[in-house]
């Protein structure tokens, strides 16, 4: 059963071939047996999961089951779960048990899904390799057979690795600069970062508020659609969430792609990209041509400025968002503070890891008197130019296609001492967050036995089209079905 998709498992449950209790037990046993290799979970909520599974079976017996009733999945440990530890991958929150649910969490609860546990992640979602987690790095299931411990990407590396390793059929994730798409690509699964505002951020621990967006990860596009059906929608608790109708994202999966206009941003096929990676992406584009799509080159002229703008705006917002972790009300507090200043200094020095501290410092600097105009204000102007690039591009095409990452999964430790090289992992994904448009990562081949992702970028609120475009590709390819050895 653990190789089946959410859609398949839902049908199995409906047919009565298996109960949610049995299914949940199977995944929990797999996590117990195998996750020591991957470290993809921070917390496994076994007791709650079994109770929820039992309740789901009862609901089904009462004839009240829906699509998600009794289907297991996992939450990235950035979504607050009432009564279950929520750490954001940080020592700061290692023992934090929220007394409330994130809206996303509450939605899955209401849908009757069974949460297996909380997946590992880069600390406060800051990282592209899952090596900044206080709970240790996550190992990518791909490459392990060669004895190589490769990164799963980040920051949603735990969710991606757990799905690739068949420890869960689906998992929630978040994407601030590529944190869904890059790990999805590196682990050979399918992920979607929705339009900014499509999914509520309430209860999702903030990294950079204007860029953070909750999204979906599973093996298939169809499963991503099923997840988004649960997650999307206006939330009165998040005033930046979009107050507009939510379609049924599964309804248009089977639309034919004839006449689809695909744009290839020339800036994303640069020399940053290895020829082998480029070849896989171009092969995928050819598949779309076979499906009836027309392809043209387009330009996102300000794309090259995205990383620079992002690494001002995101740290600036983070520097304020993370001020609340001060040892006063909850979370980590240093031992025996001498006075207030000592409490603040040691709590934050001891509670945050190196990458988080680096970004707080960068953000604080960028907002400082005398530097604000040169950094923050300038970066916001660049951000508007980047938004305009996408608006212009979508006048001529329906979707943009590009690689997700410049190279496949790298070996752990390879980039940890060079933050700038690490930041370049997100060179093809970051502009999407600055613009706020939706984008997916779809499995599209292999290089040296490691998965390669195709990025499909859509216009604002066109998640249904992206899911349709990805689903049709998955009807004619089987990259998303490949199993790591």
């Amino acid at each position: 059963m653990h190789n089946k998709s959410v859609a398949e498992l839902s049908r199995e449950l409906e047919s009565g071939k298996i109960s949610s209790v049995e299914l949940t037990r199977e995944f929990l046993d797999r996590i117990k047996a195998e996750d020591s290799q991957y470290n993809s979970f921070i917390t496994v909520t076994e007791e709650q999961a079994m109770a929820d599974a039992k309740a789901a079976d009862e609901k089904r017996a009462a004839g009240k089951a829906e699509v998600w009733t009794g289907v297991p999945f996992a939450h990235k440990d950035i979504f607050c779960t009432n009564g279950a530890t929520t750490t954001a991958g940080s020592k700061m929150l290692a023992n934090f048990v929220p007394p409330y649910d994130a809206t996303v969490t509450a939605n899955f609860r209401a849908a009757g899904a069974v949460c297996l546990g909380k997946t590992n992640m880069d600390e406060f979602a800051m990282g592209s390799s899952n090596e900044s987690s206080f709970f240790g790095p996550v190992t990518n299931p791909w490459g392990l057979s060669n004895g190589e411990k490769r990164v799963p990407g980040g920051s949603s590396g735990g969710s991606a690795a757990a799905i690739a390793a068949r420890l869960t059929p689906a998992a929630t994730a978040t994407d601030t600069g590529g944190s869904i798409r890059q790990p999805a690509a590196l682990c050979g699964i399918t992920g979607l970062k929705p339009t900014y505002g499509r999914v509520s951020r309430f209860g999702m621990i903030a990294f950079a508020s204007s860029l953070d967006q909750g999204g979906t990860m599973a093996r298939t596009a169809e499963d991503n659609a099923l997840m988004l059906n649960v997650m999307a929608g206006f939330d009165p608790k998040d005033s930046t969430s979009a107050d507009r109708a939510v379609p049924d994202y599964t309804a248009t999966l089977n639309e034919p792609l004839k006449g689809l206009r695909v744009g290839l941003p020339k800036e994303y096929f640069s020399d940053q990209l290895s020829p082998a990676m480029e070849q896989q992406v171009r092969n995928a584009v050819k598949e779309y041509e076979k499906l009836g799509a027309t392809v043209k080159e387009v330009s996102l002229p300000h794309a090259k400025l995205a990383i620079a703008a992002y690494y001002v705006i995101a740290p600036a917002e983070a520097s304020a968002n993370l001020s609340r972790f001060d040892g006063v009300r909850y979370g980590y507090r240093c031992d025996d503070p001498r006075d207030l200043s000592d409490l603040y200094t040691r709590t934050r020095a001891e509670g945050f890891g190196g990458e988080v501290k680096r970004r707080i410092l960068v953000g604080t600097y960028a907002l400082s008197a005398g530097y604000f105009d040169a950094y923050y204000l300038k970066a916001q102007k660049v951000r508007r130019l980047i938004q305009q690039d996408f608006i212009n591009a979508f006048k001529d095409v329906d979707v943009l296609m590009s690689p997700v990452s410049p190279s496949p999964a790298f070996v752990q430790g390879e980039k940890t001492n060079d933050p700038v090289t690490m930041y370049l992992e997100d060179i093809f994904t970051i502009a999407v967050n600055l613009a706020g448009v939706p984008a997916m990562s779809v499995p599209a081949g292999f290089v040296d036995g490691l998965p390669v992702g195709l990025q499909v970028i859509g216009n604002y609120f066109e998640e249904a089209r992206l899911l349709n475009v990805a689903h049709q590709f998955q009807q004619v390819t089987d990259w998303h079905q490949k199993l790591p050895q």
Partner: protein, 483 residues
């Protein structure tokens, strides 16, 4: 050397919304610590602010009441600093796009002149919690009940030049925000808090001196004292050839002392930037008009109407119009009292004096405007003399009877206005005082004559058992004595 005093104010006004500016927690004062602090107020991870529409409506009402431009696109910023009673590590406030733009308030001064004080802007922000240093030995307690209470911070131009002007402005502002219902006005609970910026410059100079800011004055008396204290302090320094340091000071009203809190060099770099959790709030015409509809008559409008409608002089009109409750009491009195000027005299005289001596507010007064009005009507129609009326007032106040007519009847205070009877009494009294009559008639100085007239009044009142109408007695006396 002669100095000009230059004063500008910053006033924090707590808005009387039921819930906080960004959460659904109650804003009621005096609850057990931290019982009105939700996950949002505690800045728990992942929580987000949701703006309270009523706070915006109140801010717009304030803007309209001070003749200000309303900021059509209101943006929130984060003001970053660490303090234990500031849960998020930043205060959500407004920097460049406040909800209320430039406006003004006219204040009345004791010499009868009036002065315009310009409002630079007013912005919406959240209040912090409270640090409790007393109750916990060696530790500090944090109460977050107040955290997130909506405030408007009003910033004036440096348009005031004396403690008197600053206090007059502060009182006017207090009366304004209370009467339009956006603030409960309770200064003892910190509903209004004043920061005073003060500088001195050589008399007539165009160049402003270095200013200091004295923070958190929560009574008009302390404010007046603090200004006097700070002016003197600065004057001493300047006259000794010293320089004023730009700094924030704290004033201790009980000791009439102030001390430096922090200098400009020690000031925080607040690293303001737009809050990404809140979209800009667009204030449209419909919202502004709906806020305007909620505005009651403003004190200035009321004052003008009192002068027009009741023929009051400027001074009385101001005293009666500043406070909405006092104004309503006066109007009720005047409505039943037939003579508005007389009603004004009684409300500002006997009634106000009695409130003062009993330490009561208008709302706590034991008599109604209608009761006082009925009494005023009886004074106006000569049923009771003013001295008799004071007795009636006293009886009403103490609850010995609930209407003027009954009390006048019961206490026999009805004036005798029957001219025949009064003439007879005058004749009898004058007959018994021939020397005084002769003296009066020989006197040529009208001033002395007038004084002598008083000498007949005592015996007349005695003869009438205090019930003779003194006005009529006076007329009859004049007539008889001139014969």
């Amino acid at each position: 050397m002669q100095w000009d005093i230059v004063i500008g104010l910053e006033i924090h006004v707590q808005l009387a919304t039921r819930t906080k500016i960004f959460s659904g927690s109650s804003t009621a004062f005096g609850a057990e610590p931290n019982t009105q602090a939700s996950a949002v107020d505690l800045a728990m991870p992942g929580t987000l602010p949701v703006p309270n529409e009523q706070a915006f409506r109140y801010a717009v009402m304030f803007g309209l009441a001070v003749n200000a431009e309303i900021g059509r696109r209101s943006v929130f910023d984060r003001k970053n600093y660490f303090y234990p009673d500031l849960p998020k590590g930043y205060q959500t406030t407004q920097l460049d796009h406040p909800i209320v733009g430039p406006g003004f308030v006219d204040i009345d001064l004791a010499d009868g002149s009036s002065k315009r004080v310009r409002i630079h802007h007013a912005h919406l922000e959240e209040d912090a919690g409270k640090s409790l240093h007393e109750d916990f030995h060696g530790m500090t307690g944090i109460d977050l009940n107040r955290a997130g209470t909506p405030l408007i911070e009003i910033v004036t131009e440096p348009d005031m030049n004396s403690a008197e002007e600053a206090v007059a402005f502060a009182r006017k502002l207090h009366s304004l925000v209370s009467s339009i219902g956006i603030c409960d006005g309770d200064m003892s609970q910190g509903s209004l808090r004043f920061d005073v910026n003060i500088s001195l410059k050589p008399k007539g100079s165009d160049e402003l001196g270095t200013r200091t800011e004295t923070k958190n004055l929560n009574s008009f008396r302390f404010m007046e004292q603090a200004i006097a204290h700070e002016v003197e302090r600065q004057m001493d320094i300047l006259e000794d050839g010293g320089r004023i340091i730009q700094e924030t000071r704290l004033y201790n009203g009980d000791r009439d002392e102030s001390r430096s809190m922090r200098s400009k060099e020690e000031a925080n770099d607040y690293r303001y930037f737009p809050c990404p959790d809140l979209l800009p709030v667009v204030i449209d015409d419909a919202f502004i008009e709906s806020a305007r509809d909620l505005l009651p008559e403003l004190p200035d409008e009321r004052k003008a109407r009192f002068k027009e409608q009741y023929g009051l002089n400027d001074y009385d009109a101001r005293l009666l119009s500043d406070d909405a409750r006092m104004a309503a009491f006066f109007e009720e009195t005047a409505g039943h009292g037939k003579d508005a000027k007389l009603a004004a005299n009684w409300v500002l005289g006997e009634f106000s004096a009695r409130l003062n001596s009993d330490d009561k507010t208008v709302a706590q007064a034991p008599i109604t405007g209608e009761q006082l009005g009925q009494l005023v009507a009886r004074i106006a129609d000569n049923t009771v003399s003013s001295s008799g009326a004071k007795k009636v007032f006293e009886a009403l106040w103490k609850g010995d009877g609930d209407n003027a007519d009954a009390i006048i009847e019961a206490q026999g205070l009805k004036q005798v206005s029957d001219t025949g009877a009064l003439e007879q009494m005058v004749d009898e009294v004058l007959a018994g005082m021939p020397d005084q009559v002769a003296q009066y008639q020989q006197e040529t100085d009208p001033k002395k004559q007038k004084k002598m007239l008083g000498g007949f009044m005592g015996p007349l009142m005695k003869a009438s058992k205090g019930q003779g109408n003194p006005k009529l007695f006076n007329e009859i006396l004049l007539k008889k004595l001139s014969n």
